[in-house]
């Protein structure tokens, strides 16, 4: 509107008045009585308000003005009812934010995040035994697979990562490197951003020591220097030449921390009994997965025939890479997805009930507006603006919450879950959640408008809107919503309760070894100096001896694979002198090497025979100790002591000298694996775990242990120092994450349910104030009123619980595969959660009940 228009409109008031004055005067001159004259003049003029509005519309862009007006009005209304607005926005923010974050995480994990061209063409090839076991692939098998197939563009071995000591710039630094085959980048479909990848010629035994850096390593260790190609670095005492740098977009689950890659240079003539490598491949364009699978099975059969001793029973399973990696996270992710759906539903229900309560309060306002001439369209527009404003604000807040939550998830997730730096908010999910809440907000926010268009406006104008048609059904709808909220919350709470209880049970499960008073850490001596087994053994002997002398330390031992870390060195177990039956099924057995005193230090009972001791030296008879799982499997009715078997790794024939108790290798709830222990003096070396039994708190000994080790060999890397108890709980990292997430959802649901119950009780109280007054006047005591209101809350809670319990029982079946320590119908949870919910609802109803009982009857009676 311009200045001229504004001025004219300002003057219009007076102009109209003058006009009517003139007309009145004329009428009086014509002989009418003054009153009649004025009345006639006004009638001749018409509707003054309308004239003014029409004049106004000449000067403004009507819809823009209306829109701005609506927004300002909406803002004012929302500000007036701060409690409602705050709760609504909070509900939306948490609901949308939490959902978006979790959904993005699940999306990132299950549905493909890989920054490679056509990532759905990349598959993982797993060797699957018909007994159900699956494992890695041997190098020779890999070579045959690669040579014989016609369906893959290329095949490669997933980088075999390990820690290296990088010297050459002051203190030795720990870096992580991966060895892989030349075809790796071709499988991924990417190129290095600087330089090149290694060629197949370089990937042969005795080939050159070359390395390709990862982008973050290039920046971190070399400052992103341009003079990078051709530089040499010293890793574990060996010199490598840098020939390339990978792009910053390279990211592969499990390989986020890999600083560099070197050619595997694996011996192509080794035995076929190894199963240590993971294989990936890229399908040729146009080849369907089924065809790749059948082709590989054909190759597997061919190999089975050619090499029956090693390949019998081994098939190949071809899986899309995303599924292969997420296999073990499938069940928890499904649960989380469902929880996400629930929470979104709950958010919408809560929003709906809030709006519904508010709608009733505003019917009077709407009736007034309608009677003043507002068209239905205007009222709807205005309410729409309000709802949209609310939803959009809630959505914006939700975006902030989501970003924050994603940061938290990124930091807290275990490494192998794949939630790395490239994990970000999924905009699609955010938009979806926003749309859902928008629709809810709009639908329920428009309810007052429905009533504004009815013809009989006199009742609401008088304030008697209780008797209006629709009030009763509205209350019923509201009650239904809140009961529904309670049911949903119950389901989530039950699920969370089950998962939490299960985790606690699992944490305390028997692991087969001593968990308290044990400190563990990994030692990685610099390869260059300890190339021979003798030197390596001497080092470990020295370390163990001096540690044992230290105060607070009772026993020291070494082992190559620490229990509960998931490390697996699998091999086959062939007893000498026993012909293999026709239906022989190869069982994977865990191979370990340990020092004398290991079992005692770890609290593992020696059931038969003896532990290793000094007589088990490199030159003496090769011996081994088995665990009782293996004993029961391979020697069910006889004494295993004295039997010999062929060691799958070094080919020697070892005599069994003892049987020890079985321990859990991976997680407390997974069954123990048959295992073989050889004395570490009779085995090769490299990095070893040290286990230290302490008399007091293991943590107190940590720095002493570290300095003792350093004093003997300063260049050794001391890694992952933890107590055994920490190791156990870290093995359950994924479970912790899922439990935390589910628990947060449940808490949120509980909060919403409380708000819902409180809201509806408070609201119903405010509606029945008049009735309370009458009751009190008729003799009801304060206590009676209190109980009356409380009863409503209880009834709501009970009905919600009644619906929720069967629903929860059904849904908890989804969790069955995730629960190891308790049943999915655990009584404690299914009794405790409903009690909790009802209790909380009662508490929530107490406040309005108390307020109702405190009301002054006289004021209540006067209240309309």
């Amino acid at each position: 509107m311009n200045k001229l228009g504004k001025r004219l409109l300002d003057d219009l008031d007076q102009e109209i008045r003058e006009h009517i004055e003139l007309a009145t005067q004329e009428n009086i001159d014509r002989g009418m009585a003054p009153e009649e004259a004025r009345y006639a003049a006004m009638r001749k003029f018409g509707n003054v308000t309308r004239v003014k509005e029409d004049a106004r519309e000449v000067w403004t862009l009507v819809w823009v003005e209306q829109f701005v007006q609506d927004i300002r009005f909406a803002l004012r209304q929302l500000r007036k009812s701060t409690a409602f607005t705050a709760i609504a926005i909070l509900t939306l923010a948490l609901g949308i934010g939490a959902n978006t974050a979790i959904f993005s995480a699940a999306n990132a994990l299950l549905l493909n995040p890989y920054p490679f061209p056509q990532p759905n063409r990349i598959v993982s090839l797993e060797a699957r035994h018909i007994s159900g076991k699956n494992g890695g692939t041997g190098f020779r098998d890999f070579l045959d697979w690669r040579k014989q197939n016609a369906v893959f563009e290329d095949m490669a071995i997933l980088p075999w990562t390990g820690a290296y000591s990088w010297t050459g710039q002051g203190e030795p630094r720990r870096v992580v490197g991966g060895s892989t085959t030349a075809g790796f980048l071709r499988v991924l479909g990417i190129q290095p951003v600087i330089g090149r990848w290694f060629t197949p010629d370089e990937d042969t035994p005795g080939g050159p020591q070359v390395a390709v850096l990862s982008y973050p390593a290039w920046r971190r260790l070399f400052g992103g220097s341009d003079e990078i190609l051709g530089r040499s670095i010293t890793l574990d005492g060996r010199s490598f030449t840098i020939i390339g740098v990978l792009s910053s977009r390279f990211s592969f689950p499990g390989m986020q921390n890999c600083d560099f890659f070197t050619p595997l240079q694996e011996n192509p003539l080794q035995g076929r009994y190894q199963h240590q490598y993971a294989v990936v491949a890229r399908m040729k364009p146009g080849i369907p997965l089924a065809r790749a699978q059948s082709e590989m099975m054909t190759i597997a059969r061919r190999l089975e025939e050619e090499y029956p001793e090693t390949n019998k029973g081994w098939g190949i399973s071809v899986l899309p890479i995303s599924r292969a990696l997420a296999e073990h996270t499938r069940a928890p992710l499904t649960v989380l997805f469902s929880a996400v759906g629930f929470v979104l539903l709950l958010t919408c229900v809560n929003l709906a009930s809030l709006l519904l309560a508010r709608a009733s309060a505003r019917t009077q306002e709407m009736a007034l507006r309608a009677s003043l001439g507002a068209t239905r369209r205007r009222i709807v527009c205005q309410l729409l603006t309000e709802s949209v404003l609310l939803s959009v604000t809630g959505g914006a807040a939700g975006l902030l919450v989501a970003q924050w939550l994603i940061g938290v998830l990124r930091a807290a997730a275990p490494e192998d879950m794949g939630l790395d730096a490239s994990f970000h908010l999924d905009p699609l999910v955010l938009v979806f959640a926003l749309i859902v809440s928008l629709v809810t907000g709009v639908c329920f926010g428009l309810i007052p408008a429905l009533y504004a268009s009815r013809s009989n406006l006199s009742a609401p104008l008088k304030g008697d809107w209780k008797s209006w048609f629709g009030a009763a059904s509205r209350t019923r709808l509201h009650s239904l919503l809140v009961a529904g909220e309670m049911a949903l919350s119950l389901v989530l709470l039950a699920a969370a309760g089950l998962v939490v209880k299960d985790l606690i049970v699992v944490l305390h499960m028997n692991t087969g070894l001593r968990v308290d008073h044990v400190l563990t850490f990994y030692l990685d001596p610099p390869n260059g100096r300890y190339q021979t087994p003798q030197r390596s053994h001497a080092l470990y002997d020295q370390l163990q001896a001096s540690l044992k002398r230290a105060p607070g330390i009772d026993a020291v031992a070494t082992v190559d694979t620490l229990p509960m870390t998931g490390g697996m060195t699998g091999g086959s177990f062939e007893i000498d002198g026993r012909p293999k039956p026709a239906d022989w099924v190869d069982t994977l057995v865990q191979y370990n090497s340990a020092s004398p005193g290991y079992f005692r230090a770890m609290g593992i009972p020696v059931l038969l025979g003896r532990d290793f001791d000094e007589q088990d030296a490199p030159a003496s008879m090769p011996v081994a100790i088995i665990n009782d799982t293996l004993a029961r499997q391979f020697f069910p009715n006889e004494d295993p002591l004295g039997h010999t078997f062929k060691d799958d790794y070094d080919g020697s024939h070892r005599t069994i000298i003892g049987v020890v108790g079985s321990i859990k290798n991976q997680q407390p709830m997974r069954p123990p694996i048959p295992s073989v222990y050889a004395p570490y003096t009779q085995k090769g070396t490299g990095g070893m775990w040290l286990t230290v039994r302490t008399s007091g708190d293991p943590i107190k000994v940590a720095s002493l242990a570290r300095s003792t080790v350093r004093s003997i060999e300063p260049d050794i890397l001391v890694l992952k120092m933890r107590t055994m108890r920490q190791v156990v709980s870290e093995s359950l990292n994924q479970q912790f994450l899922v439990t935390t997430l589910l628990g947060s959802f449940a808490v949120f649901a509980l909060l919403l349910a409380i708000i819902g119950v409180y809201g509806i009780t408070a609201y119903s109280v405010s509606q029945r104030v008049h009735e309370m007054g009458i009751r009190m006047a008729m003799g009801a005591s304060r206590r009676d009123i209190f109980l009356l209101v409380l009863r409503r809350g209880i009834v709501l809670a009970l009905s919600g619980v009644a619906v929720g319990i069967p629903l929860a029982l059904v849904i908890s079946q989804l969790l069955r595969s995730m629960l190891y320590g308790i049943s999915s119908r655990d009584l404690t949870v299914f009794l405790g959660v409903p009690v909790l919910l009802v209790g909380v609802a009662v508490l929530a109803s107490c406040i309005p009940a108390r307020r109702a009982s405190r009301v002054d009857p006289i004021a209540a009676l006067r209240y309309e």
Binding site: E18, G46, V51, D54, A55, V58
Partner: protein, 135 residues
Amino acid sequence: MTVHLDILGEEFLASPRMSTREETERLELLQGTLDLLILRTLQWGPAHGHAIAKAIEFKSDDVLQVEQGSLYPALHRLIKRRWISAQDGTSENNRKAKFYSLTTKGRRQLAVETGKWDRLAGAIARILRPTEERK
């Protein structure tokens, strides 16, 4: 014969009300007719709102009765288009009033609009009374 004249307004403007004294038929005229009448009235000299209303009634022999309030939005519309202008002045009985007068543009527009109206009226007349005498 007196007829009711209902002038159709555009969608977002209210319809100015014009009617005759008796309630018989309703004749719907195109929008802008009121504007035309105002312009014509002002051709005889500046006038304030009330005077314009009286003039229209008078000049049409009381056939056209303007709902006087609807004049004002029309006047504003004309001002916005710069066909008329407004000045503050004093009315007959020494009261403050706004006087409206034609601008040059308005004068020109009046000729154009009158021509349009004549053509329209002629066309309608030809359709209604094809063989009878036309005015």
